[in-house]
């Protein structure tokens, strides 16, 4: 059978490999793999971006708390309010409460946390705490 070569599969494989390496180095990652919502983590030096797809979750139903290098994301997708007498033909969109605990690669500067929801996608921008940044130590002579 003809096998369609998918570049995305290759990208995924590389990504997984990177995850593995990244986790083994920094210990960062998600403490509850496979939970809801699925999350992605982006890194640029001392900046971290976390993203999650949260369709049907209103902005004020999302709760983020950070302690040190641990971020807890919780929230709820409320069930649709159906008019009385309505019947379901199909029901695939789940609902309910969710919680995920994410271990970040750094201690976080709590004054610089920016979170926004856009079209059902959550983006949390975090900065490494000043105290957590590596410091170069000058070796004095003598």
């Amino acid at each position: 059978m003809f096998r369609y070569y998918n570049l995305n599969d290759e990208m995924d494989r590389m990504r997984r490999e990177m995850d593995r390496m990244f986790r083994s180095v920094s210990g960062a990652g998600l403490s509850t793999p496979g939970g809801y919502p699925a999350m992605n983590m982006w890194l640029d030096g001392d900046n971290v971006i976390l993203t999650a797809e949260l369709p049907g979750v209103a902005r004020d139903e999302v709760d983020i708390s950070i302690e040190g290098d641990t971020l807890t994301l919780s929230g709820e997708r409320k069930p649709q309010e159906l008019p009385e007498g309505a019947t379901y033909h199909r029901r695939e969109c789940g609902y309910g409460k969710f919680t995920r605990v994410i271990k970040l690669p750094y201690q976080i500067n709590l004054d610089e946390v920016k979170a926004r929801m856009h079209n059902g996608v959550l983006e949390v921008k975090l900065e490494r705490a000043e105290a957590d940044k590596p410091r170069k130590i000058k070796v004095l002579e003598g």
Binding site: M18, A38, D44, E53, Y88, H89, G94, G120
Partner: protein
């Protein structure tokens, strides 16, 4: 943490139709949908996170409703993806509708990444209630 929830973190990827090729270097997912009916109105809810209202295509062909959503997500500039549990992609799904849908009365709206399509059954087709008279 046992929470009373049926939220699913995974997305179903669309199978490539034989002979067809993608023209966008993106994955395509089959979005989750919930459908309910009330009186003569059918409501379809489709989860399409990351899609703006402007990037949704809804086409009614015969009695098939085709819904497509294009994501506009860009990777954050300068950042590299270090941990990934989901892929970003477009959405495509078709629904076969009852034949009596009024094509002029299809309404669609988008909120929090969920598309709502409301369809009305055409009046001409609506079942008429027949009163049964009791004969003394």
């Amino acid at each position: 943490m046992a929470e009373n929830t049926n939220l699913e973190p995974t997305k179903e990827e669309m199978e490539l139709t034989e002979g067809a090729e993608r023209t966008r270097p993106r994955r395509v997912f089959v979005p989750r949908a919930t459908i309910y009916e009330h009186n003569d109105e059918i409501t379809i809810l489709v989860d399409m996170p990351g899609v703006q209202a402007d990037n949704i295509d809804i086409v009614m062909e015969k009695n098939e409703l085709k819904i497509g959503g294009m994501v506009t997500h860009e990777a954050p500039e300068g950042y590299s993806l270090v941990y990934s549990e989901y892929s970003v992609g477009d959405y495509e799904r078709s629904f076969v509708l009852p034949r009596d849908i009024d094509r002029e009365k299809i309404e669609a709206s988008m909120k929090d990444g969920v598309l709502t399509v409301k369809l009305q059954r055409a009046e001409a087709y609506q079942a008429r209630k027949i009163d049964v008279k009791a004969i003394e």
